[in-house]
Assembly symmetry: D2
Homo-oligomer: 366 residues x 4
């Protein structure tokens, strides 16, 4: 399939040293470190794998690890401006989520606005909780795994200024995991990151946000997260069943709503690093195909072709393939506008989807 | 759920005697005979079951059983005018498919145009093959189960004038079964009609049309059929696998296309009389939820509430429920225009979909 | 996966000329004609594709096309003895279904018994209806597509002697399609055989048998048919819904039973020529994995590797893969007995199922 | 359906005060507190809902909260003996998992053996991690949420003596969650327990055990856990994808195995408190129906009828319904032996599964 769009794709500033061995074998780490700061060089593999556009994110933890606002905000600005510059000559191939420091909500909203208005960014990315030093920590900051400071979760009403800005600008927020170092995981490092710990921590944060009533106050806000729903999709029924209003009268979310309702109106999931056919099918069944979007998780997934081949051939309907691999992203992120100018109504023929040509029956596409 | 739309719903002219014992038990037949010619009386049960609008069809076989063009055309006009009159004071509750005699393709196209332009009909209904007497039979008519005449299948290019008209008018064609009386079924009447024979005969006709290249010549033509796809959906893979172009060089359909492509661009199926949750799920997976539409098959299914309860509660995503029970039909049949004026963007709250109210966990909705 | 078993695999007597152009392109027909009478030569490709054993059937129509009992019975005996001889030195690689002429039910039962007791055959194969000349036709024979004779369907109680024998011998009956030549198909030959006509005709016959009460009288009889259920599986709900006992008081099957009950206790389907992942998943969901068995339909499907690759990799659970590709067949056909001696409790490791080795994530296996 | 078996059903000692407000609304808590110590009184509701047998567990945290071995072991013995006494006159209606203190592995193994040999218990239940006071803590104990002591996870090789005993006795281990009180959850109590926190904590523990190589050393050990797989099932693909052996050379589990392999050979999940039709279907697809078992989670789920109605009617195959609701449990727990004497080969008729009687089409059973 031509014209695919991917939306959880990482990069790093060339000036930053970055130790990929937390995320790859020694051999893989070298590839990853080289791939991270190279933006334009990605176009070749995108062409080879039918990927028209990738939405870029400054890699985790980004400004979330800065525990001083000034430092984090400067890093965010630097990162956002650098990547905007890299992409400006390739408007049909790249879009961006803005990195944002979350210590000062007003400043976070300002940087979001600046990136959208000045650089045409299509949303913001938040890498799980925000570190904050004790000096700058608001009263409601929480104790986290880092003993020398505090952590901020985004279910606090202080962030309403940011959500209001995003809703007004009609751009999305992408929630992304970050590594945390509890004792349990130090003994079992294989479970710490992408295998298990990432989703565990991030799902808790997402659920905190959802149950805080954020979508009741900002009903047009659109949130995205990856890895086939960070384990939440599969447990929607039990979640709604157990958020018993009689039992939890202090829970802020509307007592007329189910979590399922937010998934139908405010939440999108992506396939990043989770190319599982049966989970794709289960998520289509649970959420509907309009709420699922293709993503690779490059360069943590070092080859675009693995995910792209799966997206091209996994046994879902062609109608859903078009939506998930392309159209949903164009609609949500408004990629049919300038400067991106992607074609919203491209036909199956134009995208090389369906048709007899090259079809090998028996290889499991359907 | 409020606001549901159903689209394979039958009626009969009051003047016509009609023997329902072919389709129901003696007891059920009485109910059916009474229900058939009563249009306005249906509103009460529609209100009780959350059905906003039903699309009406003159019951099978309709003009398809007339073997003389003049007779069939007169019957079609009478039926179309009668039902238009019944519905005119309830424009938000009923829409219509036009009955059409298929002996003379030009006249068929004219009647279709008349019904759309004069009565705002949203498509035509064809009840499988058309009878035709020997005197009026074209050369290409075929021998059928009726010894005193011939039968016409709509894969013949003579009908292009009709498809062209429908494409120009942007209205759909609904293919519906009719009873046929082969020797096999006379000995086993329980298999003759809705249990098996209907789909067997109609699926053959539909496949003849599709493989005739009708959608290659009229790429915007939209065809619908009921009963969860008349058995075709489940066999799409094998169908495409076995329509081997090297083996069948004379097959007219484009040799760049799969049947699956037509199902993605030109075909819609409905749930009439087939309220099977797992087939619904399988069809969503195979075709995508945009191509499936709710239908009851009233009064062959004598209670709206059976199908409506299933549609309201079957375990599919709320997003897909909205599409299948309502939005797909509004879009395809343009029911958001006058005189219907249905609301295309009704919210889940307005339609009473989702939300906590009345939810009983454990009863299988999800 | 090693150790797979396939069970709808055809062969032909070397002495019989057989025109494969009804079933393949001119080029494909040559391959097919050569493959048909070669039994032992199949072992090489079986080894290459991980197929331990194939269950052979004398190709359709076999004795079903003989319209005289003596001729059909002689052909059946010749075929059964010939293939038994071919296989006798390879008892772990081939098993057989007996060809049977169905004009004389007592003789049919005798030949079934002879093949089971003398040759260790594991069941019988019937290629849809039996031709019979007017002279030998019983009163209840039906008019069929062949004007010079009659046809026999197996829902007649005359065949109880055969079902009783099969039940006593604990062997199965496989129902297989045969080509028929109605006028509709003469004009549209691409729909006549495997694309559509086969399943249409055979499904009617199977449903006639099931609704005749055959499984009420012989509750341990086991029936198999291929092509993912000949279209019946997908319509089970509607079938049971429409076999309304009040409406059809003369239908012979027990009025306490659903067709679904027979599918749970008496019926098995195979994947022959229908390597559709989503239909596999839908059938697992509808029937349970214990009732589905792998089959290729060689040499109509000319390469074992297409189906074998699909079976090895299609996204189903490994537990179901083992059952469908192997264990179900061993249990049903008792292939763990001599002379076959297949291992019933082979582990995943022994069968090379699961495990890390060679696993490429992203290629859609799961 | 008659004859159902449920297997995550809690009880409490009458002498223990127990504050149910952590698990229910004030109103619900009263019902729960009353239900907990009443064993024989459950039979009435079991009869009403078609439940033949329930497998009982001393409610969480049980001996896992005792931080001194002597205290925990005494509590376990008291609990095991008390419940055995309650059940002894109803051997066909109750079976038991033994409560076990995990501070001293040898004593744990002894108590397991005693309960199996003396009381016919069918396995053990472990409520997540074991508390241990600093004085009794082994070197490898870990810091947990309780500041006055340590916690023990069962992936340590010290427990091999227990797994060896269970494997020898051919009984299972059920892993069950327990409440933990991190700061995150104190602020958001609605997420702490069954809605999210339970599965998060328990899944980490289970994955630690699986990746410790426990099933490599004890390949016949059978582990069960509830709530549709504690969120693990849905992420099996990503889990196996990310447990990259090159990256984690110190991970103890066999480098020839996938987590998926353990799910196919050593792990069973139950439906306790998670009556989600689509997750049931997804788990059948992912694991196969042989590895899923019905459970209610009584009295945390205060009405047997909610779960039982769902199990009776959710749209899965009747074949899978029998396995999940009954046969799998009989086989795994050997409930066909004395003193239970459950019938392993009960027919669909005997269990009132399938058949026409009482069937209402349109209510979504299929």
């Amino acid at each position: 399939m031509r014209g695919k769009i991917i939306l959880e794709e990482a990069w790093n500033l060339p000036r930053l040293s970055w130790d990929a061995v937390n995320f790859a074998s020694p051999e893989g780490a070298k590839i990853m470190e080289k791939a991270m700061p190279d933006i334009v060089g990605r176009i070749k593999e995108m062409d080879e794998t039918g990927i028209e556009l990738q939405v870029l994110s400054f890699t985790s933890p980004g400004p979330q690890i800065s525990d001083k606002a000034a430092e984090g905000e400067a890093l965010a600005r630097e990162a956002n401006d650098w990547v905007a510059e890299q992409c400006k000559n390739h408007p049909g191939r790249f879009a961006n989520f803005a990195a944002i420091c979350m210590i000062n909500p007003q400043e976070a909203a300002k940087e979001a606005r600046r990136c959208v208005e000045q650089h045409n960014f299509v949303g913001i990315i938040l890498n799980d909780y925000q570190n904050v030093c004790n000096e700058e920590a608001p009263e409601w900051a929480e104790t986290g795994p880092d003993p020398n400071g505090k952590m901020l979760y985004y279910d606090h009403p202080s962030y309403d200024v940011l959500w209001e800005t995003l809703q007004e600008l009609e751009v999305s927020v992408y929630l992304h995991p970050r590594l945390h170092h509890g004792e349990f995981y130090k003994k079992r490092p294989w479970l710490a990151a992408s295998a298990h710990g990432f989703k565990t921590q991030l799902a808790s944060h997402i659920l905190a946000m959802c149950t805080s009533g954020i979508f009741d106050r900002f009903p047009k806000l659109q949130m995205m997260f990856g890895h086939m729903g960070e384990g939440i999709t599969a447990d929607l029924w039990r979640l709604d069943h157990k958020l018993d209003r009689k039992r939890f009268p202090t829970m802020p979310m509307s007592n007329k709503k189910l979590m399922r309702d937010y998934f139908a109106n405010n939440i999108h999931i992506t396939t990043s690093g989770h190319y599982s056919t049966r989970m794709m099918q289960a998520c289509i069944s649970e959420l509907g195909a309009d709420r699922i979007q293709f993503a690779i998780d490059y360069p943590y997934e070092p080859k675009l072709s693995n995910g792209a081949t799966w997206m091209d051939t996994c046994p879902i309907s062609e109608s859903d393939r078009l939506k998930i691999a392309r159209t949903n992203a164009i609609k949500l992120l408004k990629l049919d506008r300038a400067p991106f100018n992607l074609k919203l109504d491209a036909t199956m023929e134009e995208l090389n989807v369906g048709g007899l040509q090259g079809h090998v029956f028996g290889i499991g596409q359907y």
